[in-house]
């Protein structure tokens, strides 16, 4: 983890309101793991004041160029400003931060993505492909337009669900997961789940995993101030029995955590 000055290589709107930001990073930025994130200072001004956390969608090293990619949605003040940064603009970044997905899964990884939560899972799928590890990728989105990155998913089996049925299965990605589990011949000893998406989806996926005794890692989101474990502003409530009266900090013990012990109902 370091404070590094980066410059914007490109910042493109991929689908309405969703952008792909490529940042040229210096040597001080160590090679990130899938699931890790960066803390971006979006403005030198006081409004908005705090940095914004973003998962990495990917990391490329080509010759001298080292670049980190972020896939983000415009939801409020900070992300709107971020979307206005032009190539060449300077951004000050802290990262890579946090704990990513288990780097060497021992079982077959089933990746479950919801909407823009696909970003860290794309990064994970590329790293699995590089190591020639098979995986299953289940991707749920509202419609065809939100299926960012599907064409890039190689080396694994892909199934898609859309709410409007414009592509693939019409319905929730959770249904895809149930079906995959039923028909794929998986057991908790042979497969595990890696997921990222809206908290409602993560809640459902982790309930399914817990009921079936499946290992499940989820990448969480929530408000952060320091992102380095100093302020204790980003606690994750755990289920009774798992918490021992303690809240892990999402920024240093996460953002990827064992989803089956997170008390999703108490999470913001």
């Amino acid at each position: 983890m370091n404070l590094v000055p980066c410059s914007v290589v490109s910042n493109r709107e991929i689908t309405q309101g969703n952008f792909l930001l490529t940042l040229k990073v210096p040597r001080g930025f160590s090679r990130p793991q899938p699931g890790q994130f960066v803390h971006l200072r979006i403005t030198q001004d006081v409004e908005p004041l705090l940095r914004r956390p973003y998962s990495l969608e990917g990391f490329v090293e080509r010759g001298k160029l080292r670049a980190a990619r972020i896939y983000y949605s415009v939801v409020g003040r900070g992300s709107r400003l971020l979307s206005q940064h032009q190539p060449g603009a300077k951004l000050d970044v802290i990262g890579p931060l946090g704990v990513g997905f288990s780097p060497r899964p021992r079982r077959l990884p089933i990746l479950v993505a919801g909407g823009r939560g696909v970003a860290p899972l794309l990064f994970l799928s590329r790293s699995l492909r590089d190591r020639k590890r098979p995986f299953v990728f289940l991707f749920g989105a509202r419609s065809r337009r939100e299926l960012y990155g599907v064409r890039e998913i190689r080396g694994g089996r892909l199934h898609v669900a859309t709410d409007d049925g414009s592509v693939g299965f019409e319905g929730s990605v959770l249904e895809l997961l149930r079906q995959e589990w039923r028909e794929g011949g998986h057991t908790p000893l042979t497969a595990e789940i890696f997921t990222c998406g809206p908290h409602g989806l993560l809640h459902e996926v982790s309930d399914f995993a817990r009921e079936n005794g499946i290992r499940c890692e989820a990448s969480l989101e929530g408000p952060m101030a320091c992102a380095v474990g100093a302020c204790r502003g980003c606690p994750v409530p755990l289920l009774p029995g798992a918490d021992s009266g303690r809240y892990p900090a999402m920024c240093v013990e996460g953002p990827v955590m064992d989803a089956t012990i997170v008390d999703w109902a108490r999470l913001p």
């Binding site: 200072r41 705090l50 101030a225 474990g229 913001p268």
Partner: protein, 326 residues
Amino acid sequence: MKRDLSVRIGSLELRNPVLVASGIIGYGREYERLVSLEEIGGIVTKTVTRHARAGNPPPRVCETPAGMLNSIGIENPGLEGFLAVKVPVLRGLPCAVIVSVEGENVPEFCELVEGVDGSGVAHAIEVNISCPNVGPHGMRYSTDAGMAREVMGAIRPLTKLPLIAKLTPNVTRIGEIAEACESCGADAVSLVNTFVGMAVDARTRKPILGTVLGGLSGPAIKPLALAKVWEVVQAVDIPVVGMGGITRPVDAVEFLLLGARAVEVGTALFADPTLAEGCVSEIDRYLEKMGSSSVDDLIGGLEVPEGRGVIRAGCAPRTVRGGRAS
């Protein structure tokens, strides 16, 4: 000309007047790679309580215009955990260590002060009698001069370390509370802690913070903090440590001009981890421009037209040491 930035707060010698506030930097190591501790005066640790605290239910932080609300609830490992786990971490830090403590009652404050004194790691103790986020006892000791006197008086005989009473701004007459602390042997007062605040989500019709109320900090509170520090500087003779909304390096100079002997950098460090070092450089640059060799010439150097800016009616401001009569 080499400029001397060192300041004294009681028997505490700081190489320069810039500290990082409690609750911002943990116990120093969390920000180790981002903040150059050897360049700043020191750090104030996260407040330690008698018993371990898990802290408040989430969400605990929420951004507001030019500021933030927090309701961390003093999450900390308790005195025993602090002594076992955090003291070894603090031991090697290349700057002054001020340990912040808070008790639920006077005996707890006493135990904490004795424990911290015995640890050998603290250069001073900041007595947090001002946290808005820990239930009914939190601010009680610094919203009532009698209670502030009770707690400061009880702990004074227990340690030779400098005691800095940290005050809440959520009172009408902060000068009186500061005087009460001074009269009971506090070596200094520090202020401000956060202002009680609230945020509402109109869409969900719910309060945003898990505890409904929280503490407001950041650039939005700087003018309020400056006014409170100004009031206290007029009320007491002991050193005042100023904070609240320091965001640009020059903000630190402003607090010193008012008469603060040192400053603490808070929330804005989250955005800019180099801020505390920036404040040190800015103070140095300012002295250079003034043609001065010592930070004492800057402290209390505010030029106020005579008779103006007196906060307590009928009470002449005391002379600010190191300052200029105007």
